[in-house]
């Protein structure tokens, strides 16, 4: 991992390597090699388990639960990564051989096949992330369609209770760990190095590895459906001690979280190092676009908090496979400890799922209102405020869990205080739009949708933060309403805004504006129809995570289910638009939105190494509507692409 940076940028003309033939193909990095290395690593894991159990005189020597954890869920994925070549460079380094000079053959993509290889180009990786995460978004969404069909009427119609629990748990796990968190990482992967004026991330190979852990985690979650007893069914929260005594599918959650978590920690580390050490000359911290600020804070959260969920899942799993007693009360364990450790990650995690979205919205609102961000520094500082406060509120998820009573009021107070920095951001966005020239393009529509819906989610959050209300509303559909207003109306809307906003930059083509708007309105209507009534049935006491409910909630649930199908159908328009436009949409200019940030000052899609020469940053990124303002000078000032943005601005 050490000489990465230097060697990644050594310029070097490498002779084109001829594609391997015959047996050599088995040794060249790729899926063929991955096939046998996966098997080999699996067999090694199997042997390891059997050997040690034989050594310790355990009976039976082959325990399939442990083989599952060691061989299937740990070593086989490592074998796969080895096979596709994620470790090749390090393998050379470790064995003390001279590392091959970087020939940049893993940079850029010339055909769609390059997206299925280990690629070290942050732009390719960004697209890989997005395609993968949207794939899991669809799967998770289809699961929701199934259980909404089940919930349309009281009684059980389609699935049994364990399957129902499995579906809702998988739905949440996929949406959180395989869609929202990594989709933000994908957008940032594409945009952040460009915005900083850097040729790539600090550790391109680590970046590639982080990506490849994701499909592994996702397939692991899905594979849980195939084992005896079905998928893990304890919710995305996987509370102990319940989770320690569930069918085998549970360990697929425990381990899947480890892979997804490792992926986010490595990406976060990469972002932090990139942002600190690779900013273009003149790009001080106070000139960074807010998207960069947002990812800086998010990455700090990830690096600090994510190890806690790793720990919590290890403990639950050890309680099961190694008969430890972390949470077994009769053996001196402390069951409530699980919830403390889990929420100490998972409350900060809700900000991991929101702050990058705040960054996207700041870009979109400034550009489409043609005005500087109101209170830029306060916007950055409020992110930091949320970062710090975010670690002090975790127990508001545990008001009814039987925790120490004295913890309640402090947690209630901090939870309410954290709404202050969030409120600052909301008002800053409103003030940015105030008297601006608002262009209602699709990204802006999603930004406005985000603003309104997120405020509603924040309000139900404040309700829940107050102990008496939470005691009544806990574990009801009111919580489901809250989390979907913040995570769908909040995070997912910002992801859509970001995808539409950077679509021209990523693909070099424009999306279809009319379809984009149609997508927005159908999503907006479907979303509210689905989740707003949940507030009411929740307050009347309909419990969450239960497959059946009393007759009185029947009508509203039918309404909810119908709207949820509309919501599901609205994404078809999105995918149609994206795929169609990627193929034959009109060619996008370098800077279709007349934005000032650096990624828009290069061609669409950007050149392989982003910039011919590192740009010189001369001012802040949001000087919209100010004649002659520029954020950066490119190519030594010879071809200032920024100028056309400025001229157009002046003409109006």
């Amino acid at each position: 991992m050490t000489e990465l940076v230097h060697s990644a940028y050594d310029s070097h003309h490498a002779p084109a390597v001829p594609p391997p033939r015959g047996l050599a193909r088995l040794r060249a990095p790729g899926y063929l090699r991955a096939a046998w290395t996966t098997l080999l690593f699996w067999a090694f894991g199997f042997g390891l388990v059997a050997f040690f159990r034989w050594l310790a005189h355990y009976d039976p020597v082959v325990d399939w639960t442990i083989v599952t954890v060691v061989a299937f869920l740990t070593l086989a994925p490592l074998g796969f990564l080895t096979g596709i070549g994620a470790f090749d460079y390090w393998a050379y380094y470790v064995s003390g051989r001279p590392t091959r000079p970087e020939d940049h053959s893993s940079h850029g993509a010339t055909s769609w096949k390059d997206y299925f290889r280990v690629n070290t180009d942050h732009k390719v990786i960004g697209v890989q992330y997005l395609v993968t995460t949207f794939f899991f978004f669809v799967i998770g969404g289809l699961m929701a369609m199934i259980f909404r069909a089940e919930l349309a009427k009281p009684d059980l119609q389609f699935v049994d209770t364990q399957t129902f629990n499995g579906l809702i748990s998988e739905h949440a796990a996929l949406m959180i760990f395989l869609f929202i968190i990594p989709a933000f990482a994908g957008l940032a992967n594409f945009a952040v190095p460009l915005m900083l004026g850097a040729p790539d991330m600090a550790f391109p190979r680590l970046n590639a590895l982080s990506f490849w852990l994701l499909p592994i985690a996702g397939l692991m979650f899905l594979a849980a459906f195939l084992v005896p007893g079905g998928a893990f069914a304890t919710g995305w929260t996987s509370y102990a001690p319940l989770a320690s005594d569930q069918p085998l599918g549970q360990v697929f959650f425990n381990m899947g979280v480890q892979w997804a978590g490792a992926s986010s920690i490595m990406t976060a580390l990469n972002f932090l190092v990139t942002i600190i050490t690779m900013r273009a000359p003149g790009m001080t911290f106070w000139r960074m676009p807010l998207l960069v600020w947002a990812n800086f804070t998010t990455s700090l959260l990830v690096v600090i908090a994510t190890p806690f969920i790793a720990g919590s899942q290890f403990f639950v799993m050890f309680d099961r496979i190694m008969h430890t007693n972390f949470f077994r009360v009769d053996e001196g364990g402390y069951a409530l400890g699980y919830q403390h450790i889990f929420w100490f990650y998972s409350h900060p995690a809700v900000y991991i799922m929101m702050l990058p979205g705040f960054g996207i919205i700041s870009e979109v609102i400034a550009v489409f209102s043609r005005k500087p961000i109101f209170g830029y520094r306060l916007m950055a500082l409020s992110l930091m405020g949320i970062l710090v406060l975010g670690f002090s509120v975790w127990a508001h998820h545990m008001f009814v869990a039987g925790m120490a009573p004295w913890l309640r009021v402090p947690m209630m107070v901090t939870s309410m205080i954290i709404a202050v920095p969030t409120g600052i951001k909301i008002f800053s966005w409103l003030a940015t739009m105030w008297e601006g020239r608002i262009h209602l393009r699709t990204p802006m529509l999603f930004a406005l949708g985000f603003l309104s819906m997120f405020v509603l989610g924040g309000l139900s959050g404040i309700f829940l933060a107050s102990v008496p209300i939470d005691i009544a509303a806990s574990d009801t559909y009111f919580i489901v309403a809250h989390i979907h207003y913040v995570l769908f109306g909040g995070s997912v809307f910002t992801i859509f805004a970001g995808v539409y906003y950077w679509f021209p930059k990523m693909t070099g083509r424009m999306y279809n504006e009319r379809l984009g708007k149609l997508h927005f309105w159908l999503t907006f209507i479907g979303f509210n129809g689905t989740f707003f009534p949940m507030h009411w049935v929740g307050l009347q006491g309909m419990p969450r995570r239960v497959s059946d409910y009393s007759e009185q909630f029947g009508n509203w649930n039918m309404v909810v289910s119908l709207f949820s199908f509309l919501l599901g159908a609205s994404t078809i328009i999105f995918f149609y638009n994206v795929i169609q436009s990627w193929h034959r949409g009109p060619i996008a200019p370098g800077n279709p939105w007349r934005a000032l940030t650096l990624e828009w000052q290069v061609s669409s899609p950007p050149p392989v190494f982003n910039f011919d020469e590192i740009p010189q940053v001369v001012a802040g990124p949001y000087e919209y509507g100010i004649p002659g303002a520029r954020h950066a000078v490119l190519n030594g000032g010879h071809a200032p692409v920024v100028a056309d943005a400025v001229h157009e601005e002046a003409r109006r």
């Binding site: 970087e102 850097a198 790793a310 590192i614």
Partner: protein, 203 residues
């Protein structure tokens, strides 16, 4: 880079050299952030320890009757590990001064002491008389020392790589990140052990 500057955006020409916007080198910073994350993982385990031993109203005795902790042997082991931090430091100072023999000797000594530590711990495990299932006490004992042992193993692997490369003459007074970075990690593993030893064995 300069030779190819201005050429087209083909794959052949390398990227422009990134601006260095900070005095810390990327890999050292990366290692520190990784360590921050690792420290939090230990934090999760210490939180479990804290719950089991302090918060739990039905906390059991520590160590759980009738077991004993080999405080003395572990103390000797602590001394070994702490010494190895000094030899690591010596190795790094040597390479900075261009003293290759010092670098090699320092690395080998560190490696040997790390191995000695790990072996002692394994023997301790074999003879300690209880296992992870013996109360929350056994769980936490094996959890924390096991987590630490895994880190020693990783540290030793990194050191082994550095040693191999040192004997092949890969490091110079100017370029020695390959020694410095495993060294930082090794000091972290060392400091972490002192905390583990103090909380598990001494308190």
């Amino acid at each position: 880079m300069s030779a190819h500057a201005g050429s087209s955006h083909s794959v052949g020409h390398g990227p422009p050299i990134a601006n260095q916007s900070s005095r810390v080198s990327a890999s050292v910073l990366g290692m520190f952030l990784f360590i921050a994350s690792e420290a939090m993982l230990f934090g999760a385990f210490f939180t479990a320890y804290f719950f089991v031993r302090v918060v739990n109203p039905e906390a059991q005795s520590w160590p759980l009757e009738p077991f004993h902790l080999p405080v003395f042997v572990a103390g000797v082991n602590t001394a070994i590990l702490v010494t190895s931090s000094f030899t690591m430091h010596w190795a790094l100072q040597s390479v900075k001064r261009g003293n290759r023999a010092g670098l090699q000797a320092g690395l080998v000594l560190t490696l040997l002491m790390g191995l000695a530590f790990l072996l002692t711990q394994m023997l301790e495990y074999a003879r300690i008389g209880f296992n992870p299932g013996d109360g929350a006490f056994g769980t936490i004992f094996f959890g924390l020392t096991g987590l630490h042992g895994a880190h020693v193993f990783v540290g030793l692997t990194l050191l082994a790589v550095a040693t191999v490369r040192a004997f092949r003459g890969h490091y110079t007074p100017e370029h020695h990140h390959g020694v410095e970075i495993p060294g930082i990690y090794w000091h972290f593993v060392d400091v972490m052990w002192i905390v583990v030893y103090a909380t598990i064995y001494l308190i």
